[in-house]
Symmetry: C2
Subunit: 337 residues, 2 copies
DNA sequence: ATGAAAGCGCTAACAC
DNA sequence: GTGTTAGCGCTTTCAT
């Protein structure tokens, strides 16, 4: 493990370390021949510059953090793919932090970022977060942040989302069009931007179509399958709904489970529609009608904007919202037969 | 963005930076009162030590790399969850690198790790990799590596896998037991350790049951759905198999697609069994019989062993194999009705 | 065109 | 107990 560093290269070439450093960075004031000699030896010895030294010196780490609630989730998985694709292209490294929907971990991660480990962060907020001081602090320190999907409106920075209200409205309207009269909503934490918007889209569509709604038709799921299924089952026994609009894929599957337990047929007895990025939604039994978000593109755009901002240091990220369109893909679970 | 560093703390407290440094690390030769004062101020100013300086000095980054082929894959997603859980617990950071099954990227990533950016790496080999020099070099440099799932036998280090041969044998036997006479295998790259083992398990079971096999019954899929489906469809027209044993979930879904196109019923006309970590395999149409690997535990074990080795520097990781058991979960796709 | 030297923030000998 | 000091490997003025 004897290290090949700039000093060694300099010794071997009878040059100063300054010259070697400049040669490697292709500086203008180094002669062509010297550059070539340096590069040749560097390649031969497989020289790799020490990133810590460089980061320490330049106050730039060429690393970004991705802070997300979970990873066993098709949306985030696709988003990471998008993020990674631009990071790789631009020579950035990607650190992953999973909050598991836990506010305390989110705060801990945020504190970690104060120290220059990363140049910026891509964040999707945890479901239990209600206070945003930890993010505000980051922002105040000048750390560029881009929120995606689950954003934080209180903080002035770039946010990349989808048209959650509109597509939820459309989804609910679709269920109504297929004959549903009593639609239940499996909601994601109302503390979340998207939780709120998705619920409002549902409520608005119900209201516009003169269908009664009440809190008893809404289950706020908590990402614990056993307990969520219990709550859903309870709701089914109580309300006997004929339609489900699920805010996330996982809850739709919980809905399938409950229907199966209660011997309810989808779509004959209950129609189901869900936000989902499941590639094989069409192979489900029955195939699931989904609102599908362009998750890869969202990740890509969020990362591209962040890295772009990092490159040209000056202006901080504007308080801008980029909204992608989701698409409603109709399948058997909402068929009107 | 004025930095709070050790120097500032020292100034404010009228102490030397050495004292502050030691106080923060809870060194024995600092008085209780001094420690308390230092810690109090550090908390007040939200001091976070600069990781680059510390890494540079200590030649330790408290960071590990995870190099995997892809992330939109339930197996890897679960494995990352396992990895992250122990990393978080032990205060390590996790860098993610996706090779997208591309040998060239894998080599590029490996070269990146020569420079101290990470203390160790968890690797699952790309499907196109045939030469392992890039990993050997890492090993020779003394960088601790743990392979998981897709391992590299040529390199002496810890490997964490599942019983691929045995479970493939069992899977094939199960299909035979359910009445299949002509089973096709959708194989993953035979360059991969797991590709090989899974294929051999299949071949052995076929042979032991006196069923004919030939290369024409095997499709080596390439992770490009369109082309894979084309190859599979071609095989179906040619061979008319009555069973599918898929080496990975994705290919099983391609099989579902082809059966649907050719109007073949599962399981009546064709039975399907696949390696898979899909949580909702039971909601597929028909529900899919799977061999399920303990992916979370594999990730966790691999990471725990790696970090453990990093903590007690001395001995390099032994050339050991840890083999987890997979489980066959029978569902409708192999029902003998 | 090249080199000397300072210093990024921290740690760890080694004084005192 | 506390302070002084010498780097870790690199970049970057500023001389030459």
């Amino acid at each position: 493990m004897e290290p090949v560093n700039i000093k060694k290269l300099a010794q071997l070439l009878n040059l100063s370390i300054a010259t070697v450093s400049k040669a490697l960075r292709d500086s203008y004031d180094i002669s062509k021949e010297t550059k070539e000699k340096v590069v040749a030896l560097a390649n031969e010895l497989n020289y790799q510059p020490n990133p810590h030294a460089s980061s320490l010196r330049k106050h730039k780490s060429k690393t970004i953090a991705v802070i997300i609630p979970e990873i066993a989730n098709n949306y985030f998985t696709l988003a990471i793919n998008g993020i990674e694709s631009v990071a790789q292209e631009k020579g950035y490294h990607v650190l992953i932090y999973l909050t598991h929907e836990d506010y305390k971990r989110e705060v801990a991660f945020a504190r970690e970022l104060f120290n220059g480990r990363v140049d910026g962060a891509l964040i999707s907020v945890a479901g239990t977060t209600t206070d945003y001081t930890h993010f505000k602090n980051l922002r105040d320190k000048g750390l560029p942040i881009v929120f995606f999907d689950r954003v934080c409106d209180e903080i002035d920075t770039l946010k990349v989302t989808t048209d959650d209200f509109e597509s939820s409205y459309l989804a609910t309207k679709h269920l109504i069009g297929q004959g549903c009269k009593k639609i239940t909503h499996f909601a994601i934490s109302s503390k979340l931007s998207i939780g709120n918007k998705r619920k409002r889209g549902y409520l608005q569509a119900m209201a516009d179509h003169h269908l009664p709604v009440s809190d008893s038709l809404i289950v706020e799921c908590i990402n614990d399958d056993d307990r969520d299924i219990e709550m859903i089952e309870e709701l089914f026994r109580r309300e006997k709904p004929d339609g489900i609009f699920a805010a996330v894929e996982r809850y739709a599957m919980d809905g399938y489970e409950v229907c199966s337990r209660l011997n309810l047929r989808i779509p004959q007895d209950v129609k189901v529609l869900s936000f989902s990025n499941l590639r094989i939604a069409s192979f489900l039994n029955p195939s699931l009608t989904t609102i599908t978000q362009p998750a890869f593109d969202i990740g890509k755009e969020a990362a591209a904007r962040l890295l772009n901002n990092l490159e040209k240091k000056h202006a901080p990220l504007a308080n801008e919202s980029i909204v992608f369109k989701s698409s409603l893909i109709q399948r058997a679970s909402t068929s009107s037969i």
